[in-house]
Amino acid sequence: MNVPDDLLYAETHEWIKRERENVRVGITDHAQSELTDVVYVELPKKDRQANAKEAIAVVESVKAASDIYAPVKGTVVEANKALESNPALLNTDPFGEGWIFVLKIDNADDLKQLKDAAAYRKQIG
């Protein structure tokens, strides 16, 4: 299972990429392989404020709906509109074209709560 070294991870299987004062968020390769066949993504609205661990997006497979959580406190600055017409990007390119939203973070120190690649690899075994 692909777990890139340069990303941070949440226990709920989101990956987090630092981009200056923002973070880009998606779901991990492990998460997409557990879900399989993503058929619908409900994106968060721009300017939405969220607390850490608040559900702000929904990813639906044929079988079930799963919440996606804000990894840290912040404000949504962008959501990946491409997923509306092509939700399968989450399966085919989870760390690239399949990103879900960009969050402007309130406090960069909050990122210290997240896991590094080694810790996430350990979590998924």
Binding site: T36, D37, V39, V58, E60, A65
Partner: protein, 366 residues
């Protein structure tokens, strides 16, 4: 229930070996999928797929008055099938609530095989045993049997290769015994997918051998093992009900739109009085299929149904149909709102999405 308390079918190791994702279902650990629900669904619609149904229950009813007694226990008329055929039927409680939906096969003049839902096997047996007539023998033989459903348009080709070109499969709803490499197979032409297919039962100890033989012989026909996820999606596209979701002890067969499997001309069966009343007065709610008007989030069980802002029902099954590439489902809707073509709204995470009540089945083979 913890994973370790779940039962394993005789094919458990085969599923794990082939990468099946195991989940608890009706007290059993079953594969929900191998690689992809959508891929497995397409295999069944286009070629042929195989499902483990060893978790399903087998009850044998035998004895001088087996037929007469079963006709009092079940809704359909068990006098109708000849020896070697079966019928879909219901086991009801006194309020006409559905305990189980099942297929009853007549395997002798006064001998029947009831194939019942995994999660209801013990309850069905207890209910039947409690009402048992003294000259009827009832046995729960579920643990002795393994079973598979082999479904898809290439099933006949596959069985010619398996049993020989001169061997014909039984006709629809018929059941026949075969021998294959010292295995005793009971093959019924039935299924839960809307495709041509069979359900095959055999001794639990033969299960891995039969499973692997079918996969080997079926390779040239594109066979794949398929999980419960594909099975659930296939049946929903056909509007076949799932007990525990669309059927329950709080619902009767007329509300579920399955009155054709109830013979009200029979003089006496459990639930008959209530059903006569439901038929006369009309059911308060009806189970209807629906299709979402626009692309959007798929409907799911327990979402609420509205008509012009008024709450009129609840979804019992829903998904994105891979065959139609569209959100579909079934819902109990109050009868005045449950007409084919009626516009309804499905509430999904606080927002209403338009849908239309459709005719059965939702998926028609082109």
């Amino acid at each position: 229930m913890s994973e370790s308390a779940q039962k394993r079918t005789p094919l458990y190791d085969e599923h794990v070996r082939r990468g099946g994702k195991m989940i608890p279902f009706g007290g059993w650990l079953m594969p929900v999928q191998y690689n992809s629900i959508v891929e497995e669904l397409r295999v069944v619609r286009n070629n042929v797929g195989m499902f483990d149904i060893s978790h399903m229950g087998q009850l044998i009813v035998d004895g001088r008055s087996a037929r007469e007694w079963l006709n009092k226990m079940l809704t359909n008329n068990i006098d109708k099938p000849d020896v070697g055929s079966g019928q879909y039927t219901f086991l009801l409680n006194e309020h006409a609530g559905i305990i189980d939906d099942l297929i009853g096969y007549r395997i002798g003049e006064e001998k029947f095989l009831l194939v019942v839902n995994a999660s209801r096997t013990d309850e069905d047996f207890a209910w039947l045993d409690r009402h048992r007539s003294h000259d009827v023998d009832l046995r729960n033989r579920s643990a002795e049997f393994g079973g598979v459903a082999i479904q898809g348009p290439r099933v006949v080709d596959l069985f010619h290769r398996l049993l020989g070109d001169d061997v014909d499969l039984p006709a629809r709803n018929q059941i026949v015994d075969f021998k294959l490499e010292r295995m005793s197979l009971t093959i019924a032409r039935t299924g839960y997918t809307g495709e041509d297919g069979v359900e095959v039962f055999f001794s639990a100890s033969d299960a891995p051998k039969f499973w692997n033989l079918v996969l080997e012989k079926g390779e040239r026909f594109g066979i794949k093992p398929c999980g419960l996820g594909a099975r659930d999606t296939l049946r929903l596209e056909m509007c076949y009900p799932l007990n525990g979701s669309d059927l329950s002890p709080e619902r009767n067969p007329i509300e579920a739109g399955l009155g054709s499997f109830v013979d009200l001309t029979k003089p006496d069966f459990i639930g008959r009085e209530v059903l006569l009343r439901t038929k006369k007065d009309g059911p308060r709610e009806k189970l209807v299929p629906f299709r979402m008007k626009d692309k959007g989030p798929p409907p799911r069980p327990h979402y609420l149904v509205f008509d012009n802002g008024e709450r009129v029902g609840e979804v019992t099954s829903g998904t994105l149909s891979p065959s139609l590439n569209w959100g579909v489902g079934m819902a109990y809707v109050s009868t005045p709102h449950a007409k084919i073509g009626s516009k309804i709204d499905i509430e999904i995470r606080g927002q209403k999405f338009p849908a239309t009540i459709e005719k059965k089945p939702l998926y028609k083979k082109s």
